[in-house]
């Protein structure tokens, strides 16, 4: 339901002056459309997962210590999920290969209460489990570096859990069911445990195989490559393989009446678009991803994963779920700038992730700066004006929500973790010049591919690359109660 006439007018006006579009859509909409195929979802071969990629050093979270068990290093989750929308019933089987990180008489995973465990086995033998709140405690002694396989069968009326945030666009996370029985998930900073037993803390990255049995005509969508697609008369089965490790908050599950189309980046990467049938506007808008990817790859280097897709859901937010971005269905969320934001997260957030929620600014700061630069490059507000305004607001954000690296646990994802570190990165960009700045931004990714990291790692990297003392600079921006002065102090 967008108006071609308005886009044409936008072109005419943009030629003479810079117009701020309401969804920044004027820019990329003018570029030629990417290739769009309407049928024949490509299915690729399943590969044997390389478990060594998924070795992690799990830790107890400093902001949300109630989630996760640092004694568990999950390497691979194989999930088999059956969704019955009429009964609102989720049936699951989970097979988790993990490494015990220390000797212990028991270990635990997170699994929300409505899901009842009907059977649990450890290395093929029955094992006793108990429930304490959302904790699934497995009573079996383990030794350090022992590798084990836990299988759990479970079922129940899965539902979301309250999110620790005061944001306007979401108040719960996890397994969300629409009025008509479709499913979507967004689960930052936690909430994967509403649909499978999981070590739900970001320092424990793992590989995944997700099989979804959806009602006939519907399709289940998850992360990675589609390796099996069997539409049937009674149900449709899809199987997805994620062949590089992901933190649990970066997993997605969407089940509904989806149609598939695709585009392609200049570098040749296919982008799969999964949009509910009967939503032509959303279907058109997601195609902005192809040109946004061209822009991102020109600055951050080749896309780091083996597949890329976008799935549109009934959410009001947007989430950088790894290799399969989860988008809500609002004009704001489907704007090219927001799509670009989630795509940049594939590098900053997914390829390299925070190991603790106090460092979520590592994801959002660089991504926000990239979004501002992209908006400026595509006919939106010039970067200087954006930075000027954000700087005006920085003190208010610190007063309201705390410093970006020390926010209140109940105020997850407020604007302080976006704008304040974006301003910090912009100071380094101005100091070093775009070329050097992005060289270091890329070398950081290469040095920590598929790892979970923290603030000390990133300060060390930038100090090593620039040969400058930067600790005080980072500390002032990330932990300071006052907006730092402009510029990068020379040590």
């Amino acid at each position: 339901m967008t108006a071609p006439g308005v886009a044409g007018l936008a072109l005419a006006v943009l030629a003479t002056t810079t117009v701020v579009g309401c969804s920044s859509e004027a820019g990329p909409a003018l570029l030629p459309d990417a290739e769009v195929v309407e049928s024949g979802v490509p299915v690729s071969d399943r590969r044997e997962p390389d478990l060594e990629l998924a070795l992690s050093e799990p830790r107890k979270d400093s902001v949300y210590p109630q989630v996760g068990d640092p004694g568990v290093d999950a390497l691979h989750y194989a999930l088999d999920l059956t969704w019955q929308p009429g009964r609102r019933l989720l049936k699951g089987r989970s097979r988790m290969v993990f490494r015990a990180t220390r000797p212990a008489p028991r270990f635990q995973l997170d699994l929300a209460r409505p899901l009842e465990v009907t059977r649990a086995r450890l290395d093929g033998r029955p094992v006793r489990t108990t429930r304490r709140g959302k904790n699934l405690v497995v009573h079996a002694p383990v030794t350090a570096d022992q590798r084990l396989t836990l299988t759990v069968a479970y079922a129940g009326r899965a539902r979301p859990v309250p999110a620790p945030t005061t944001r306007s666009d979401f108040s719960t996370t996890g397994f969300t069911v629409t009025r008509t029985g479709e499913v979507w998930t967004m689960q930052e900073p936690f909430g994967a445990y509403t649909w499978y037993p999981v070590n739900d803390q970001p320092s424990d990255k793992a590989l995944y195989d997700v099989t979804v049995h959806a009602p006939a005509r519907w399709t289940g969508i998850s992360n990675g490559r589609l390796v099996e697609h069997e539409p049937g008369r009674r149900r449709t089965t899809t199987r997805w393989q994620l062949d590089e490790p992901a933190s649990s908050y970066l997993m997605t599950l969407a089940i509904g009446d989806y149609g598939w189309s695709s585009g392609r980046t200049k570098s040749g990467l296919r982008i799969d678009y999964w949009v509910p049938r009967g939503k032509p506007t959303a279907k058109k808008k997601v195609r902005a991803a192809a040109r946004a990817m061209d822009w991102a790859e020109a600055r951050l280097g080749p896309y780091p994963f083996s597949s890329l897709g976008l799935v549109v859901t009934e959410s009001d937010s947007a989430m950088e779920t790894q290799t399969m971005v989860t988008l809500g269905d609002t004009g704001y969320v489907l704007s090219p700038a927001v799509i670009l934001h989630e795509l940049v997260h594939q590098w900053y957030g997914d390829q390299v992730s925070p190991d603790d929620w106090r460092d979520v600014w590592l994801n959002e700061g660089m991504t926000m700066l990239m979004q501002w630069l992209y908006e400026a490059d595509t006919g939106g507000v010039p970067i200087k004006a954006t930075v000027r305004r954000a700087r005006q607001l920085d003190q208010l954000l610190r007063d309201e929500h705390g410093p970006p690296g020390d926010y209140d646990a109940g105020e997850f994802g407020e604007t302080n973790i976006y704008w304040s570190p974006a301003l910090m990165w912009n100071e380094l960009r101005l100091e070093l010049g775009d070329k050097r700045f992005f060289e270091i931004a890329r070398s950081w990714l290469a040095a920590h591919d598929n790892q979970s990291v923290n603030r000390d790692d990133i300060v060390a990297h930038w100090e090593a690359e620039t040969g400058r003392e930067l600790y005080a600079f980072f500390d002032a921006w990330i932990m300071g109660r006052r907006t730092p002065a402009r510029g990068v102090p020379s040590s």
Partner: protein
């Protein structure tokens, strides 16, 4: 995750009406930087106005885009004797109306009511059925025979501007404006759903 939409459109403390008047004057004089500042600052305000008319956020954003383009291209027609924000309200409400008309024309008609207007099919239109829809349809009907009441009625009942602002905007005495709105409401009432 995307940043919260509620802060994304407001990159700084909202400018005062005096500041907006000043930017608008400079923009009129050909200062493109002032025009950029102005358009950036207006977005949340315009989007709010459009949302008042078009409840679906995608539609409101389309209307907002159109309104900002209209501001950029027609800023010369602001006379500078009233507040810029008053002129802006009229531009925004008109843009929302024209977006609504376009949506309605694109929609598949499902039934025709007694006034001969095709109602949009909610299955194919993103415009959500609601009281504003009735009011907008009523405006269209009134415009046929009594176009002189429509502008005032829209500004009062759709956007909710105070009477004195409307008087300044349309260049009529306050008493006249009040009477026109009263007449307009009498005409609109039987056209509204529920016939309240």
């Amino acid at each position: 995750m995307v940043q919260d939409m509620n802060t994304s459109g407001e990159p700084g403390p909202a400018p005062t009406p005096d500041e907006l008047d000043d930017w608008a004057r400079r923009a009129q004089a050909g200062d493109t930087a002032a025009l950029e500042d102005l358009l950036g600052a207006l977005r949340p305000r315009v989007l709010n106005i459009c949302r008042g008319v078009l409840p679906h956020s995608g539609d409101a954003e389309d209307a907002c885009q159109e309104a900002l383009l209209n501001v950029a291209t027609k800023i010369g027609s602001w006379h500078g004797n009233g507040r810029f924000t008053t002129w802006l309200h009229a531009v925004a409400v008109n843009s929302a109306r024209s977006t609504y008309r376009r949506l309605k024309n694109q929609a598949t008609p499902v039934d025709t009511d007694e006034h001969g207007w095709d109602r949009p099919d909610p299955r194919t239109t993103s415009v959500i059925a609601g009281t504003r829809l009735d009011l907008l349809d009523a405006m269209e009907a009134i415009e046929q025979d009594h176009p002189q009441f429509v502008e005032q009625l829209l500004l009062r009942d759709v956007y909710g501007l105070p009477y004195d602002e409307i008087a300044r905007l349309v260049g009529a005495p306050l008493g006249t404006v009040k009477a026109q709105i009263h007449h307009g409401r009498k005409l609109a009432r039987p056209l509204l759903r529920g016939d309240r």
